[in-house]
């Protein structure tokens, strides 16, 4: 099942490559230049140990961390694991004991060589409990307390980077770039009320083991609003920008190059407190039936999202199509009519807090309230909790966004259950896809969390950016990108605009 899934993912990627590459004109790569990137996240962390699973900022942090750090292995666009810092790996029959041989001659950005103890320290920090990581003569040995046949998927994704912690707390990596400069957000000198966004400047690592990247610098600006990014992309102030799903259509109409990943973010509704208890089963069922996922995906999100009935996306689990989420307003009303007057949401509105930032998620929250009101359930949308808020007021519902982080469906679902449902480790048997499906079915049937829509990641890419080989699961692979000079790019723009709304897919670059 695992290999089938990866082959499916690879097929998507290759098709995209064929589409993108087939239309592109062949031109020799060029070294040099600064790649400008703008992100919506106002802050990111380059320390994988700080990352909270599923958080909204995790995707951006992971993208930038992949510039600085390497993993032991990677997954190519063909669905095969490729050596990275590890050149060979073996495991026993139980898949509990794994041996990885480290690549020789790899050096950190400060010139010091990568040694097994440093790899062990990094892996032990990111793998966490349940794993014992030890150094061998030429690499690392990982022992898991339970069978972990998906260890390669885990190590090829998420936060499992190899790094070395400096005495001052900063981390160094062996990746194609290193952090040259980091400027925190500050008040503008011209307009004190405006905030100058934070910037991180990455410099090409000439001594990296996989070859110097094409661009000299990658300059990342954080905290840029979606509309501003789109505007900057149009006027050439940035080379790469995130595009909000509801702006994708507009961006396409403007003739911009838009790349999208496989669904990366799950938008879901979570019940809190007494509403999550078994006594509120009927209420949760009424909500489940009242949600109009199609309208959310097709109207509010302009057909740039998918209605979600499962917790894991199809590309990750392979069985998501088996889940259905039929809207049945009449049944929802019947359930609601049977509630006694004291049930929350009947007279007093249920407070729904939108945990994800941005107008899009606020709109989603309002739609949830509208759908609920159609079933005579009262819901009031509260604004997202600001970072300065000390103690957020208790709410009955959360509209949350979960970013898929791992290539292992088991690890992803387990992280989801732990983080979102305060659950424990999934049973060992769930390593089996059928058991995993059963477990997810059980979770869905509990209705403690209602999946609503799946959002892909949309990226606007300037025509002067060549060899854009982002993976379907969201790895941008900026080391492969090279920049064409602006005058040359302008002629390419004209050509590109002829393609108009063609979609770029990643080309499946390999180290």
């Amino acid at each position: 099942m695992r290999s089938t899934k990866l082959r499916w993912l690879a097929a998507i990627s290759l098709a995209a490559v064929a589409l993108a590459g087939g239309g592109a004109q062949a031109s020799p790569p060029r070294y040099g230049g600064t790649l400008h990137v703008k992100l919506r996240a106002s802050s990111i962390s380059l320390d994988p140990r700080d990352w909270a699973p599923g958080s909204a900022s995790l995707a951006d942090s992971e993208k930038l961390a992949s510039l600085v750090y390497d993993r032991l292995i990677t997954l190519d666009d063909y669905g095969k694991f490729q050596p990275a810092l590890a050149t060979e790996w073996t495991h026993d029959a139980s898949s509990k004991n794994w041996q990885f041989k480290l690549r020789a001659g790899v050096r950190f950005s400060d010139g010091l060589p990568l040694t097994p103890p440093e790899a062990v320290a990094a892996l032990q920090a990111t793998l966490g409990k349940g794993f014992e990581v030890g150094a061998t003569e030429s690499g690392v040995a990982i022992h898991s307390s339970r069978s972990t046949p998906d260890l390669l998927e885990q190590l090829a994704s998420g936060r499992h980077f190899i790094f070395r912690a400096q005495p001052d707390g900063t981390l160094l990596g062996t990746g194609p770039f290193f952090v040259a400069e980091s400027v925190a957000a500050m008040a503008s000198e011209v307009n004190p009320t405006a905030i100058k966004p934070a910037k991180i400047r990455f410099q090409a690592n000439d001594g990296t083991w996989c070859g110097r990247p094409f661009v000299d610098f990658v300059e990342v600006t954080l905290g840029e609003p979606a509309l501003r990014q789109l505007f900057d992309l149009q006027v050439g102030k940035t080379d790469i920008a995130e595009i909000a799903p509801d702006l994708v259509r507009k961006a396409r109409q403007e003739g911009l190059r838009i790349w999208n990943s496989a669904p990366q973010t799950l938008v879901a509704l979570r019940f809190e407190g007494t509403l999550a208890a078994p006594a509120s089963d009927q209420l949760r069922e009424a909500f489940w039936l009242a949600m109009d996922r199609d309208t959310m995906a097709n109207v509010l999100l302009q057909r740039e999202a998918q209605p979600a009935a499962a917790l894991l996306p199809q590309w990750l689990s392979g069985y998501a199509f088996l889940f259905k989420s039929p809207m049945n307003l009449q049944r929802a009303k019947e359930l609601r009519a049977a509630f006694p007057a004291g049930v929350p949401g009947v007279i007093q509105p249920l407070r729904l807090r939108v945990d994800a930032s941005g107008d899009l998620f606020k709109l989603m929250g309002e739609r949830v309230a509208v759908n609920a009101r159609q079933a005579n359930l009262l819901v009031q949308v509260s604004p997202a909790v600001s970072a300065n808020a000390s103690t957020p007021a208790p709410v009955a519902l959360h509209l949350l966004a979960w970013h898929y982080d791992s290539l292992s469906p088991h690890a992803e679902l387990e992280a989801f259950v732990k983080q979102m449902l305060d659950g424990a480790d999934l049973p060992a048997a769930t390593m089996d896809p059928e058991q995993l499906f059963t477990e997810e079915r059980r979770l869905i049937d509990e209705r403690r969390i209602l999946p609503l829509v799946l959002l892909p990641e949309y990226v606007g890419v300037r025509p002067n950016v060549h060899n854009w080989n982002a993976s379907a699961w969201g790895d941008w692979r900026l080391a492969d990108v090279w920049l064409e000079p602006e005058d040359a790019a302008s002629s390419t723009t004209a050509t590109g605009s002829q393609r108009n709304s063609s979609t770029i897919r990643n080309s499946g670059a390999r180290p």
């Binding site: 509801d246 259509r249 309208t295 109207v299 509010l300 302009q302 309002e366 309230a369 509208v370």
Partner: protein
């Protein structure tokens, strides 16, 4: 209270009442005038609001028509008219139209009533708006008030609907402006007035639904009663709200119901007029009135004093003249000024005193003649008794000259003895008259009244109990706690002695003599009663007249002496009697005499004994 004071107060009260009345009248009519002015202002503002409301409605209609006729809208209608049209393409179009046309609310509704795009509530896209499709004549309908559902709250809007039709497909364009604090801020209000808007979007009063040009209204709860009244009966109402104890803080609010297209109450416009200006003016008027009143009061005070003095001066002179007349100055005259009633009264008074003086002189003359006649009669009576024996004796002596010497000698001896006796009698009579004319001035010392009474009775006790004479019993009702009084013991003894003697004479057949002493505060009261035949009223009135007596052998000086003594002691004497039931003499003597020289008691006692001896000798 004197007549002048009364007059003064009457004038003063009259002035005060007049000033108060004028102040009240001015305040009252000023308040009425202000209230009328305030009502006119409110009415003008109401008209202005309605005019403004209509203008805003026309503007909104124009803006919605602009959206309706825009190319992008026409394209949208054409696109949506196609089969399987993708309405999601227009999700944000309403927002764009709202921004470009300056409207708060814009919605596009498909011909089947489905919401295609909403600027204010995009999450509602896809839902039906049947109220839009139910009206087929939107293009002839002006702006109207509407309850606008928003994601978090409901709002009040002034809304217009227009349509764009292609074939049999119609697109409804709904546009509106929010009625909120900005709307209120755009109203031009006179000084001291403000406008508030209550958005009646909840079934009960909600204080946060009330706003003014600055936003939320503090103390919005104070409007609850007024709003609830309008909610019950949507009609214009007026109520005054006091924000503090200071009346100047009060505001009068004119509440106007704002109704929706179907007559439902969607809002209440409150036009508030501050009472501050009115109250300050009232205070100013009251202040001026107070100053004027004080000034008038002061002037009135002076005028009243002058007038009352002018009026009462002749009356006072009359009163003084009357007092002088009362004190014996019967010849008192008053200056007569003018010819008014008071002057006539003064003239009459002068005539009266003149007549009185003449009458008095005549009376004195008459009394003097009567007194002399009485004295002559008494003297003739007194002297006639001894003269007759003298005449007989002298005639006996003349006849005795014819007798022998021995017989003559015997007759002569008897005659001379008789002559001596009668001459002594004559001398005694003359002495008594002489004594009465020479009543000495009292010499005051401490005297025990009870003792004095007992001493006076003690002199006559042998006669009360003498054999062969009628028996007279004595009863004492004396207050032993009486203090000693300032009196002349000799004169007092003489007075009591005469009273006892008088009582004894009044009881020739015997009876009871009662003596009583009581404390009268500043005085001592003494009563001497007998059980004799009593006195007639005429006798009572003349009893103390000198030389008046009811007895055959009395000189009529006894009770006159008593009255003289009592008068010299600044006391009073009276008699009460009922014929056949005896008589009672009451004397009231002051306890103390200011300015009198008081002799020690021992000396007084000596004097008393001497007087007793003298009295005994005289009797």
């Amino acid at each position: 209270m004197t007549f002048r004071t009364k007059l003064f107060l009457i004038f003063l009260v009259t002035v005060l009442a007049s000033v108060s009345l004028v102040a009240y009248g001015v305040t009252h009519y000023t308040q009425k005038a202000f209230e009328r002015m305030d009502a006119q202002r409110t009415q003008a503002l109401e008209v202005q609001f309605k005019k403004e409301f209509a203008q805003r409605g026309e503007t909104i209609v124009q803006q919605v028509e602009n959206i309706t006729n825009a190319d992008v809208t026409v394209r949208m209608v054409l696109d949506l008219a196609r089969p399987n049209a993708d309405a999601s393409l227009y999700l944000h179009d309403a927002n764009g139209a709202a921004q470009s046309h300056g409207l708060d609310f814009v919605e596009f509704v498909n011909s089947d009533g489905t919401l295609v795009s909403s600027a204010q509530y995009p999450a509602r896209v896809g839902y039906k708006n049947d109220w839009v499709t139910s009206n087929k004549n939107w293009d002839a309908t002006g702006a109207f008030l509407k309850r606008e559902e928003l994601p978090d709250v409901a709002a009040l809007s002034l809304t217009a609907v227009r349509t764009q039709t292609v074939g049999d497909k119609t697109l409804y364009i709904i546009g509106g402006r929010r009625l909120d604090q900005n709307f209120l801020a755009s109203l031009e209000l006179p000084e001291g007035m403000r406008a508030l808007l209550y958005r009646n979007l909840e079934p009960t009063f909600v204080d946060t639904a009330l706003t003014d040009a600055n936003g939320a209204v503090p103390q919005a709860e104070s409007f609850r009663t007024l709003i609830e009244q309008v909610q019950k009966q949507p009609q214009d109402l007026v109520e005054t709200i006091s924000w503090s104890r200071d009346p100047a803080s009060a505001e009068t609010f004119h509440a106007m119901p704002l109704k929706g297209r179907n007559g439902e109450l969607l809002g209440v416009l409150l036009l508030g007029s501050s009472a501050k200006e009115l109250v300050l003016l009232q205070r100013e008027i009251l202040k001026i009135a107070a100053v004027v009143a004080l000034a008038a009061l002061f002037i009135g005070l002076l005028v009243s004093w002058w007038v009352s003095r002018r009026i009462t001066r002749p009356v006072e002179e009359l009163a003084n003249g009357a007092r002088d007349v009362a004190s014996g100055r019967w010849d008192t005259k008053i200056d007569v000024k003018g010819s008014d009633e008071i002057a006539q009264l003064a003239t009459a008074f002068n005539e009266m005193t003149g007549t009185l003086a003449a009458q008095k002189e005549k009376l004195v003359q008459t009394e003097r003649v009567a007194a002399w006649r009485e004295l002559a009669r008494r003297l003739a009576h007194e002297l006639r008794n001894p003269l007759f024996p003298l005449q007989i004796t002298v005639e006996n002596l003349q006849r005795a000259r014819q007798l022998g010497p021995q017989q003559f000698q015997e007759v002569f001896g008897e005659a001379t003895a008789t002559l001596k006796a009668e001459l002594a009698n004559l001398n005694n009579i003359v002495g008594r008259f002489s004594d009465f004319s020479k009543m000495p001035a009292p010499e005051f010392s401490k005297v025990n009244v009870n003792e004095a009474l007992r001493d006076a009775v003690r002199l006559f006790e042998p006669q009360f109990t003498a054999v062969g004479k009628p028996h007279i019993a004595t009863e004492y009702f004396l207050n032993d706690s009486l203090p000693e009084i300032d009196a002349d013991p000799e004169l007092l003894h003489k007075a009591f002695q005469n009273l006892v003697l008088n009582a004894m004479d009044a009881m020739p057949a015997g009876g009871t003599l009662s003596l009583r002493s009581t404390d009268g505060g500043d005085t001592v009261r003494i009563e001497v009663s007998d059980t004799g035949k009593g006195l007639t009223p005429e006798e009572c009135s003349r009893l103390f007249t000198p030389y008046y007596t009811t007895k055959q052998l009395g000189t009529g000086l006894g009770l006159a002496i008593v009255q003289s003594v009592v008068s010299d002691h600044h006391g009073t004497i009276s008699v009460s009697s009922e014929e056949g039931h005896g008589a009672t003499f009451r004397i009231e003597l002051p306890k103390r005499h200011t300015g009198a020289t008081i002799k020690p008691k021992a000396e007084a006692a000596t004097l008393e004994k001497e007087s007793e001896r003298a009295a005994t000798a005289s009797d």
